[in-house]
Assembly symmetry: C2
C-alpha cells in the first residue's frame, strides 16, 4: 500500500498520515507512538526549551527505530539554539512554521535535512517552494492553534496550493479520518496532517481535563481569534471571552498581549485550567468522541480509507 | 451514471450538481441552462418581487422541460406572497434558506413540493429533518453570500451533518469542480451545490464587470462580515472596508444597517458598481479563471469526476 505515494517515499513511512506538531501535546511519547504505528510522528518544539527538545530527541530514539521529525516555529526568539540542536542531533525531518522559510531552509538542507514548511496560502506555498523545501503543508482555516490571516478553508486551499506547486503536498485543517484522507487526495494532496485527534490521543502529554473537554465540545465551540496578533483557533472559554471582548472593544496589539500574558497555552492544555487557559484545538474537535491510542487512530483511518476507496471503484 | 444517486433520484436529474440560488445571478436564464445541461437549476427568489418570481417561472417553462426549482429565503417580509406564487405555479422543488423550516415545510409538502433546507450546522440539520424536509444543503463557511454564525467549514460540516441525518445531503461552500464532487462524496454528501462558478456563467444575470472582478481576484480577497446582522461573504472592496471598519469600531446592528442602506447587492452584482456595491461571492472565486456556459461547467465537472474516480479505482 502507498508504495507510490510521494509523501510516504519522501519520509520512508508506511501511511500518508503525519501527526501535527502541537504545543504541550506532542513530545517523544506521542511522536514515537505515531511513528511506530506507521505514520510520521513530530516532536513539537513550540512549547519546549532547546534543552527540552534535546531530551525529547534522545528519548524518542529509544522509543522508535522509525522515521520521526521535529516541528519548529521559526518565530522563536532563540531560534539559533533550536537549529543548533537539530543539527547536532542529526535530525533528518524538520517541519517549519511561521517565519520566513528562506532563512533556515538552505542550512538545514545542506545538513541532510528534509525541510517541510507550513503555509496558509498559495502565495506562501510558492515562496516556500522557491526557498527549496521538500514538501508543503497547506493548513486551512479550520485547523487548531496558530493559523493564517487569509481564512482560506481546506476545500479551497488544497486545490489553490496544488495549482502552483508540484512537490509533495500535505493537507492540514479538518483532517481526522479515512474520509478526510480520500477527500484531501481528491483535491490534490498526497497526505494529511492530523492535529486535534492526536492532541487527545492517549500518548499526548495534554492534561486529561483538556482531552475530556475536547471530546465534550460541539460544533461552533472553537473560534479563530487574536487576529491582530497571530490568529489562533481555540475553544470559546472564559479566557477566549476576555480576549474577544477586548478585540470587539477595539483593543490594539499591546493591550491584547497584556491580557494574553505568559504561558496561557501551558495553563490550558498542559495544566488543564479550562477557564483561564488557552485551549488550542481545531474545528474537527466537534467530531471527536473518544480518547484513543495513536495506533488505534492510524489503523482506523487506513481501514476507512480502504473502504471508501473500494466504494469509489464501483460504477456509479 | 448516477442511477443510484439519491439526489439525482429525488429530483429526477442526470448529474448530482445543483446550481445555488443567488441574488441577481440566477433567473430563468441561468436556471434553465443548468437544468438543460443535466443539473438542477434554481430560480433565486431572494432578489425578486413575487411578480418577478412568477415571470421567471413562466419563462423557465418555455426554456426547459427538465426539472428546476426555486430558492426562497424564508426571512422575506412578504413571504406569504411568494409561497402563494409557488403553490399557484405548482412548483415541485423548493430550496428554503434562513428562517424556520417548520413554518412552511408542511404546507409545501402537502402541495406536492419537495422541500430542501439550507443549514450551516448539524444542529439545524436535525431541526430541518424533524420538520420533514426531503434533503439538506450543508453550507460551509467558505460559501459566498449569506452564511451561518458557526464558521464551520465544509471539511467539518459535511461529516457533522451526515452523522445526524440519513436523508439526501447536498454540500455547498467551496464546491466548483470534479474534485470537489469526489471530496464531498467521500465526506458523506450525495451531491454538490455550486454557487460562485455559476454566478459568473455566461447565462448569469450578474453584470459583466462583476463577473470579470470575480475572475480577477485572488485568495484571501473575500471575507465573511456583517456578523452582527446576518453574516455575508463578499469581496473586500470599498463598501466592505466601510462596513468592517464600523464593525471594528464597535458599531451596533442599527448603525450597520444605516451604512448598509438599501439595494447594495443589486448595485454591486447587477449594476456592476465594484466600489460601493456588495459583491457576494465564495472563497472559491480565487480558483475561477474564466467565464463559461453552464453546460461547459457541468460537462467539465463530470469529466473531472470520472477521471479522479477511475484513478481511485487503481490500487495504491
Amino acid at each position: 500500500m502507498f508504495t507510490n505515494n510521494s509523501v510516504c517515499r519522501l519520509f520512508n513511512i508506511e501511511y500518508p498520515i503525519i501527526q501535527a506538531g502541537m504545543v504541550w501535546c506532542s513530545g517523544w511519547k506521542l511522536a514515537s507512538a505515531v511513528s511506530n504505528a506507521g505514520g510520521l510522528g513530530l516532536i513539537g518544539a513550540g512549547s519546549m526549551t532547546p534543552d527540552n527538545l534535546q531530551q525529547h530527541i534522545i528519548k524518542i530514539r529509544l522509543a522508535t527505530n522509525k522515521p520521526f521529525g521535529v516541528n519548529l516555529p521559526l518565530l522563536k526568539s532563540d531560534i539559533d539554539a533550536y537549529i543548533e540542536i537539530l543539527l547536532k542531533e542529526h535530525i533528518k525531518i524538520v517541519f517549519t512554521s511561521a517565519g520566513n522559510p528562506k532563512t533556515w531552509t538552505p542550512l538545514l538542507k545542506e545538513n541532510g535535512c528534509k525541510v517541510i514548511h507550513v503555509v496558509a496560502s498559495a502565495k506562501n506555498a510558492l515562496k516556500a517552494h522557491e526557498s527549496g523545501v521538500d514538501a508543503i503543508v497547506a493548513e486551512g482555516f479550520e485547523a487548531g492553534g496558530h493559523n493564517g490571516r487569509e481564512e482560506t478553508t481546506s476545500f479551497v486551499l488544497i486545490p489553490a496550493v496544488r495549482s502552483v506547486i508540484d512537490i509533495p503536498l500535505i493537507a492540514a485543517g479538518g483532517m481526522y479520518n479515512g474520509a478526510s484522507l480520500i477527500a484531501a487526495m481528491a483535491l490534490g494532496a498526497d497526505a494529511i496532517q492530523v492535529g486535534s485527534r492526536f492532541a487527545i490521543a492517549k500518548e499526548s502529554s495534554a492534561n486529561q481535563a483538556f482531552k475530556e473537554k475536547v471530546v465534550e465540545i460541539n460544533e461552533g465551540e472553537t473560534r479563530l481569534t487574536l487576529k491582530r496578533l497571530i490568529p489562533v483557533r481555540m475553544i470559546m472559554n472564559k479566557f477566549y471571552n476576555e480576549i474577544s471582548r477586548a478585540e470587539i472593544e477595539g483593543a490594539d496589539a499591546r493591550q491584547l498581549l497584556a491580557i494574553l500574558g505568559q504561558g496561557r497555552s501551558r495553563r490550558g492544555i498542559f495544566e488543564g485550567d479550562l477557564e483561564d487557559g488557552e485551549l488550542e484545538i481545531g474545528q474537527v474537535s466537534a467530531l471527536l468522541h473518544k480518547i484513543e491510542s495513536a495506533k488505534e487512530i492510524i489503523d482506523e483511518i487506513i481501514s476507512e480509507y480502504s473502504a471508501i476507496k473500494s466504494n469509489f471503484a464501483k460504477p456509479d
